[in-house]
Subunit: 684 residues, 2 copies
Amino acid sequence: MPAASSKKVAMDGNEAVARIAYAVNDVIAIYPITPASPMGEWSDMWASQAKPNVWGHVPHIVEMQSEAGAAGAVHGSLQAGALTTTFTASQGLLLMIPNMYKIAGELTPMVMHVAARSVATHALSIFGDQSDVMSVRSTGFALLASNSVQEAMDMALIAQRATLESRVPFIHFFDGFRTSHEINKIDVVDKACVQEMLPEAAVYAHRNRALSPDNPVLRGTAQNPDAFFQSREACNPFYLSCPEIVESSMQRFAGLSGRNYQLFEYSGDENAEVVFVLMGSGVGAIKETLPHFHAQGKQVGCLAVRLYRPFSITHFIAALPQSVKTLVVLDRTKEPGSVGEPLYLDIVSALQEGDRQSVKCFGGRYGLSSKEFTPAMVKGILETLEAGKLPKHFTIGIHDDVTHTSVAFDKSFHLEDKDTVRALFYGLGSDGTVGANKNTIKIIGEKTDLYTQGYFVYDSKKAGSITVSHLRFGPKPIDSSYLIQEANIVACHQFPFLEKIDVLETIQSGGIFLLNSPHDAASVWEHLPHKVQKTILDKQLTFYVIDAFKIAKEVGMGNRINTIMQTCFFAVSNILPEATVIAEIKQAIKKTYGKRGLSVIERNNQAVDLTLENLHQVQVPKKVTAHSNGHRWVPESAPDFVQSVTSKFLAGRGEDLPVSAMPVDGTYPTGTAQYERRGIADEV
Amino acid sequence: MPAASSKKVAMDGNEAVARIAYAVNDVIAIYPITPASPMGEWSDMWASQAKPNVWGHVPHIVEMQSEAGAAGAVHGSLQAGALTTTFTASQGLLLMIPNMYKIAGELTPMVMHVAARSVATHALSIFGDQSDVMSVRSTGFALLASNSVQEAMDMALIAQRATLESRVPFIHFFDGFRTSHEINKIDVVDKACVQEMLPEAAVYAHRNRALSPDNPVLRGTAQNPDAFFQSREACNPFYLSCPEIVESSMQRFAGLSGRNYQLFEYSGDENAEVVFVLMGSGVGAIKETLPHFHAQGKQVGCLAVRLYRPFSITHFIAALPQSVKTLVVLDRTKEPGSVGEPLYLDIVSALQEGDRQSVKCFGGRYGLSSKEFTPAMVKGILETLEAGKLPKHFTIGIHDDVTHTSVAFDKSFHLEDKDTVRALFYGLGSDGTVGANKNTIKIIGEKTDLYTQGYFVYDSKKAGSITVSHLRFGPKPIDSSYLIQEANIVACHQFPFLEKIDVLETIQSGGIFLLNSPHDAASVWEHLPHKVQKTILDKQLTFYVIDAFKIAKEVGMGNRINTIMQTCFFAVSNILPEATVIAEIKQAIKKTYGKRGLSVIERNNQAVDLTLENLHQVQVPKKVTAHSNGHRWVPESAPDFVQSVTSKFLAGRGEDLPVSAMPVDGTYPTGTAQYERRGIADEV
């Protein structure tokens, strides 16, 4: 394999953004909220290490009592002339609204970075959608979207230049978890580029507007009806010129980095009749599906809205092919009672004003609270549209059997790249699987030129629950903004999972199955459930077992099997030479456990050495021998709701529940935790 | 004059709403914010008087530490099964947003009453517009608008029934100050009507959904990506049925009260080609202008949007005449950077979806922060439209010489009703003028069948500033939702005002001018400024003087001239027989000053008795004798900004300042208060 490029580094969206935000600000007011917290944590750590920003001083990090306090601190710090930022999401962003109106009204440059997350409604959710960002679209902040980890880093910087030059404050947002927590190998923006992007005169002007006894001004007055309205309109020129300023920031950045961005980015057929319009990570899924449509002779395109506010109708119309007859506008939010979701409403009006009123518009909701958005769904929407059956307002990704908004799609359709390794790892929260996989990405990223992507699924109570790691490695950039649809490697780190969840559901024919098993290669077959046996035979899998717990115990590591399973993965996947892998894993062990003393390092190294001799391929019999009917998640005595709903959640099949199965107002029966306790953790 | 109807009472919008809210709730969580505070104050007072609600118990009033606390208290109280409300505005409403998403997500019936007010941006403002209400349109709350004091009382009750039946929580809103503080003589909803409007089964169902150890349920869970989206869509049927429920509530109310309301209320020409679309008190100004257009042969209409969320496209389209070619959508808010203001965006999309896409739409901003909205402006918009010069997005009521959004209008045009007495009173904050005028309205309201309206203008620092009371009385209902454009009586309670402001600016020919003057009828002329003399002669005014301060001093009342001037007003206006007036004023004195002891009452009564013999008509000379050039507000040595901007504010002519005169970001020079101090209060 060729050596890795020195500029490319694997990191997640939060780190990518934090690196820029830290570099260009004097003050960072933080308050933790998932999924934005790591941005604050990185900043806090770097400051504690006395890492300087581009001006050579260490930013002042201030943690407040809530996001309302953080917003107040930001407002105050900006008024003192400091370049200031904050990171937030969801309710945290809502608490900042009053200050945001003031910051924007006073034309104060700043970039706030938002890992977009659901706002709590019938239930809280820590996961990603754009309902938080959309709820602040009235504040006068500009809204700039990133659709990937690379873009999150780039846009963070472009926004910083644009806010300083335009005086319009920015929210730079990217999808929570999908972008904030996805690890991707990206081109890192270097310090020279950051410096070139900062407009010196505008920085000076901002500092010069500081409230100061040396140059006193009055700001934050109370106005009466005689003057308020005129004053409110005085900001118009700043908003009118903002889109061009963002555009020129993007052009400058392109000159420095080679990466080109536009306010509205079109991709796909030049003569497209149907165009999808959306913001955020979902763009990845659509762009991946366009070649499929093209191959079918379908003229389809995708318009990614990058600068949502201020919305430039001119740029929007210019980006749209003349041939377009239908727009499918996708909103990652829901506003009950509205005529349509926000992006849809804006696009309908923009078409009207841009003299393209003959273009038909459909509005779809997708991806609420990190619900998947896949090429299969994109295809489902297009086919339903072609069949003349697309509702004016629809949902995609769920089964709405109540108000029948949902569009059907073929779940088996996928567009996984054959040259990309797609590996799934099933572990337990806190068993080290996720950490080991992050390490694996880093090793591959550094030792090869392969592109890498890592995404980790856990539910909101992390410890004791199942974790699923989705790793992709390959020679092409990886834009797939969704979970692995077809895996060529599946590793199950916990034997009891086999009875309970369908770990081989997405494995491809001829794939590799790696199992941590208390039973050896000779005897394991008889202990496998019927379904697992059948899949191994039907799909002709290559099947490996190792008793990782046994090795861990032998070397005195208790239940810590992560380095053992990591070594197995490298062995079966054959991505790197064995010697390199062993050396790298040992290097990682030294780094990770260095503080715990030599004996811990020694034990881990020993475990690695013992791994390969204990990893065995299973000689798979010719036929299924098991009669097991699978795990029963709840006893027959459980109440109806538990049988029909709770059991699905426990089995990891909540996806299958239709709208009619859900309480209308988030009210659930009590006493169901007793059934949940029969689940995973206690049996391991 | 005929006796007053027993059902009609003069009150302001806040009291009208508070009466209903108090009657139908168990718990009222309050936190004061202008202009919503009086609703909480009324409730608190009634509870302290142990006044029962319709169920016969005294509502629990709880004052919190902020609106965020009030929202939390509301959420908690609702979850305990109590019917609960709160009152707020502006930033107060913003602080409630996180709880509002939860309350709506959990389908919890409640009505929150909002006296709509500007959100602070470049400056704070306590005055009215709909920027607060629009900023919560994503929350899932229904939004129901009242356009007058009568409607505010009626809609408060209609909303209460609708929320209970639909389970969708409501914001009932009305324009801050214009409706919340306008006193109007309205039909009071009686207790029987309230009781008939409350749906017993739905009240019971709400109480039954309470979180209770006797019937435990789990509410407020955390959801994962597997289920959140489906759950979020489960509320759809409730939002879909909400408009019909509001409609049926309105029908039931019509049966009980005789007052008919609709989701979208159309008035004007049945074959209108141009229709104005808006919400709130501005509807009054447009409806008054429609007969003028009709008389000119112009086919114009007005569509008042009453139920803004959930927005029913079906009802909207049905309310719109088939003949319409152009809609002028007026938003009382500004969202910088958006494609258009919220109502405009919704209407454009609703036309598209309702198959009326050929109708052209214009979007206008008006009335920000209690900026006036008058028939002259309505006419200005229509004429600019007819001339083909209306910008797609425009402003009305200001002069935008920067981005040229503003539409011109003829300030001299007005539609004041000839049969309505229109009286203006200039007083000083805290001099008792406003209180006396409120008393006057009450007396006229109770002793005649005349309709009454009172509106009081003061700037945000009340004491020491000029107050202007606008009183209308007449045989027809008074819907004029703007200041008096042409007065037939002007009373100036402070002689020094004559030098400083144009108190006779709007007086009609042949009008009455009442002046509190230290100079007697024989000598006053020589003390009048040039402009005042000229207006008296040009407009052939009937001119009365009284030295109210002299009388007040004589009877030992110091500077309290309010009852004296009130008596004069009745004398010169001739609305009621002299004997009735004297008796009523003395009755009011007894009520107002009863607690201060007999001597205060006696002194006031004496002042009243002395008034009429000291009130004299001035024999106006034939020509202007004065040479005064009016008051210079700031010295010539003052800085440019003070000369050009501050001086306008001081002269009460802030209205005349164009957009270009205003700082873009709310930043003002300091040290200007020294000029302000040369203003009013210290000289009186």
